[in-house]
Amino acid sequence: MFARRFAIKCLHDMKTRRDIFQAIADPTRRAIITLIALQAMTPNALAEHFKTTRQAVSNHLQILSECQLVKPVQQGREIYYELQIDKMKEIDKWLEQFRKIWESRFDNLDKVLQHMQKKQKDETKPKKD
């Protein structure tokens, strides 16, 4: 029973996995993230903050949930939205790995250029008798 639910969740996650950069590109969504980073909030509380409709906020939360940046948590009768810190860190992790790849390439190139220039110097040196 548990295995089946887990499998369904995995498939669901894969299908609805959303473009995370697009999700955080929206300024209202970024503001929502900033707020709930401090404490989990309900859609109503968020709507008050933005002077916007509850529906608009729910749409934003839906998008953020789909890319797993926020998670709904039931507390009593209310649903609070929590920030998933791990997901934010994941973006930075990929960027960091990407940066390291470039760093390594450039270190290689430094050495290659040094070698090229030394070779050129040696070739143009006047021959000693």
Binding site: D19, I24, L113, M116
Partner: protein, 169 residues
């Protein structure tokens, strides 16, 4: 890493662009040569411990560079190659192109993202700064580039190497 040479790495998450700037202690002549001559590219393009192997290079507008990444003692990525299709080229000044993963024949891997690159070369006092701009479509593309080309083992290898260099162990 040489601390006195400029190295800038910034990401614009909204425009999905990565910008890299790196200064090299050489003029645009040799630097351009290093970026466009396959024999030299093979010496530095792959981050250690990998090595790039050019299969085909046609450096002109509409041409492309086809290369493999190899790792000594490993058959990892044996059939996984990369290609860079050249768009605009201004000799010793700039070039741009699309990059994607492909097979031995150069056929783009289905589902492989194409990222647009542009490289600009500027000389100043005998040093050359290369400004690289890489535009991709989705976070997943970035993940794929990092994952497919360089699995987590690679990052661990880098960390091991760092540690080795620091402690000599």
């Amino acid at each position: 890493m040489n601390q006195t040479l400029l190295f800038d790495f910034s990401v614009n998450k909204e425009t999905k662009t990565i910008n890299v700037k790196r200064e090299f202690a050489a003029g645009t002549g040799p630097v351009w040569e290093a970026w466009t001559n396959p024999e030299i590219l093979d010496q530095w393009w792959a981050p250690k411990p990998y090595k790039a192997e050019t299969r085909k290079m046609d450096f002109r507008k509409g041409g492309y560079w086809l290369y493999a990444m190899t790792c000594p003692g490993s058959t990892e990525f044996k059939d996984q190659l990369s290609r860079m299709d050249y768009e605009e080229i201004e000799p010793k000044k700039r070039f741009s192109g699309f990059t994607a993963f492909c097979d031995e024949t150069g056929k783009v891997t289905p589902g492989s993202a194409r990222s647009l690159w542009s490289n600009v070369f500027t000389e100043n006092n005998g040093h050359t700064t290369v400004a690289i701009s890489l535009k991709f479509d989705k976070l997943e593309d970035l993940e794929t580039m990092v994952k497919m080309g360089f699995k987590e083992g690679f990052t661990m290898a880098l960390e091991n190497l760092d540690q080795y260099l620091e402690t000599g162990v």
